[in-house]
Amino acid sequence: MSATEQAAKDVPVIEIDGLNKWYGTFHVLRDINLSVDQSERIVICGPSGSGKSTLIRCINRLEEHQEGRIVVDGTRLTNDLKNIDAVRREVGMVFQSFNLFPHLTVLENCTLAPIWVRKTPKVEAEAVAMEYLERVKIPEQAGKYPGQLSGGQQQRVAIARSLCMRPKIMLFDEPTSALDPEMIKEVLDVMVDLADTGMTMLVVTHEMGFASQVADRVVFMDEGQIVEQNTPDEFFSNPQSERTKLFLSQILSH
């Protein structure tokens, strides 16, 4: 590994400094500092309303922040549309409600952004899309419309659709929360596979099994701030703050 490559690896791929955000007068994110290294897998958890989704939505500017600095892959997020577009090209996002485009087939969902944003030729985009649909194990559904698929299949298509843009970072906003219990595993399996490829991942989830299996770091948020962050082992076996202990006792009690 050359010196510059080493240096590139040491520079965090996401840097968040002193991030503050308000919805009107409501202070939703308070003084967030977070830096994410290349290939790092981070699980963000916390009670609902704690600002976890808002935090990752700031990273691809679906939400605007009022104070602080967010740098994604060397690009600083400001009002500059060019910077926003640059970041969005490198950051994929998977939503709780899938948000597949219902008027397009699965394959068209996957090729749309590569064709229109990356200007990839259609044939090539389709080949890449089939490759990723293969990886999420539903190539046979390529010609169907999203409405014809189950929730778990739709979410896997959504993951494949994001990957087709060949992003450097993947954001997951509660990807299994809208799924029936028997479908959660098929989506988590795909995410575990993805983690194995070295993708940088930020995952907002309540799936603590996934967190302990895959995450390099668990970030616990409450009332708009990061309360605690640690390796999964330490986080689950030896939580530091009272809030964390309370949260863990509530979600692990069944």
Binding site: N60, L62, R88, G92, M93, H103, A113
Partner: protein, 369 residues
């Protein structure tokens, strides 16, 4: 009563049975739809009775006793409808005052309309790409054919009339009001205050005024927005005003469709890096327009029937021609016949639009499992 533990093993699961005979087929349909209850049975009998007392006498009057040939109304004898004017005046009803030796130009424009519309209305048309280019140039071709110049005898637009005028104004209005309506709907949701305010004011003012008054004042209003040396003929003025009027309605119909699109669709498009116009064109509008089809076609049909209002600025569309004819001593009092005939023309066109929109809705329905 004691509840026994209830479970089935795989071998004693129940198989399928055919549905009861009385619920399927013609008998089943009639039972379910015509005779499902006492009230429904009464309504069915009443409906059959009403059809029985209205349809046969109408057919008797219009067809069996109808008279087709004759010089004027005095040649019509008997009780039936007098269609003799059709033979004499059909040219005026269709072409207005267009010189009769030039009416082939209108016919040709009408024939060329079909290949121009086909690539937009039908899915499997051979040579779609070339036909699309043809339809881009079609308006120029049509205007050239109708108005003349460049070797063709020039015909004043004042000669346009009859059903030709309804078609010209209606088609131009329909083709223009959809894109203008889309832009106004997007403008009304714009983040830029200037664009938003312009859209809101345009929509509310134009929608809040009767179309007739817009047509009356078009020769006062339009010159304000146009350069001093541009004078529009009356047909063009009508097209501009009817387009403006319909697009204000269209904008609100489409805005309804836009609001029905979940926020997640906008976010997914943004997150993938699509720009505003890309996400509108590729993601949002295809869905919003699909939802709005009934309202859009509703506006189209209203617009097409509103073309009869051109009479207020002295143009003679098919309705104007028929009103003029029934006040002519030769044909005095034949209003039933002429209005039945005019209604039939409008009904055919409007019903076709309605059926097409229904088939389009079915085709675009991708939500069905």
């Amino acid at each position: 009563m004691i509840h026994k533990p209830f479970h089935r093993t795989h071998t004693d699961m129940l198989g399928e049975r055919p549905a009861p005979l009385a619920t399927v087929g013609v008998m089943g349909w009639m039972r379910a739809n015509l005779f499902s209850s006492l009230a429904n049975t009464v309504l069915t009998v009443l409906a059959i009775y009403l059809l029985w007392v209205s349809i046969p006498p109408f057919l008797q009057w219009a067809i069996f006793d109808g008279q087709v040939y004759g010089e004027n109304r005095f040649s019509c004898k008997g009780e039936g409808a007098c269609w003799a004017w059709l033979d004499q005046r059909i040219g005026q009803f269709l072409y207005g005052f267009y010189p009769s030796e030039e009416t082939w130009r209108i016919n040709l424009a009408l024939v060329l309309l079909f290949p121009a519309l086909a690539p937009w209305l039908m899915e499997n048309v051979p040579g779609k790409r070339y036909l699309r280019w043809f339809s881009v140039f079609y308006p120029i071709i049509a205007v050239f054919l109708l108005v003349g110049g460049f070797g063709l005898t020039e015909v004043s637009t004042d000669a346009l009339g009859g059903f030709t005028l309804n078609l010209v104004v209606g088609l131009a209005g329909i083709v223009l009001s959809l894109p203008v309506g889309i832009l106004l709907a997007l403008g009304r949701q714009s983040r830029l205050p200037l664009i938003r305010w312009f859209s809101i004011i345009f929509i509310e003012v134009v929608r809040g005024v009767p179309l007739i008054t817009l047509l009356f004042v078009s020769n006062i209003i339009l010159p304000i927005f146009l350069p001093a040396d541009v004078a529009l003929n009356s047909v063009a003025r009508v097209i501009v005003m009817i387009t403006a009027f319909a697009s204000a309605y269209m904008a609100e119909v489409i805005r309804g469709g836009l609001q029905a699109i979940p926020k997640g669709q906008y976010e997914a498009a943004q997150a993938m890096g699509l720009g505003y116009w890309q996400s509108m064109r590729l993601i949002i509008l295809p869905q919003a327009l699909k939802i709005s089809i009934p309202g859009i076609v509703n506006t189209f049909i209203g617009l097409f029937k509103d073309t009869t209002l051109v009479i207020v600025i002295g143009l003679f569309d098919i309705l104007g021609i028929s009103r003029a004819m029934v006040s002519n001593p030769d044909w005095l009092g034949l209003s039933s016949e002429t209005y039945v005939f005019v209604s039939l023309f409008f009904f055919v066109v409007c019903f076709a639009m309605s059926r097409y929109s229904m088939s389009l809705e079915r085709k675009l329905d991708t939500d069905q499992r």
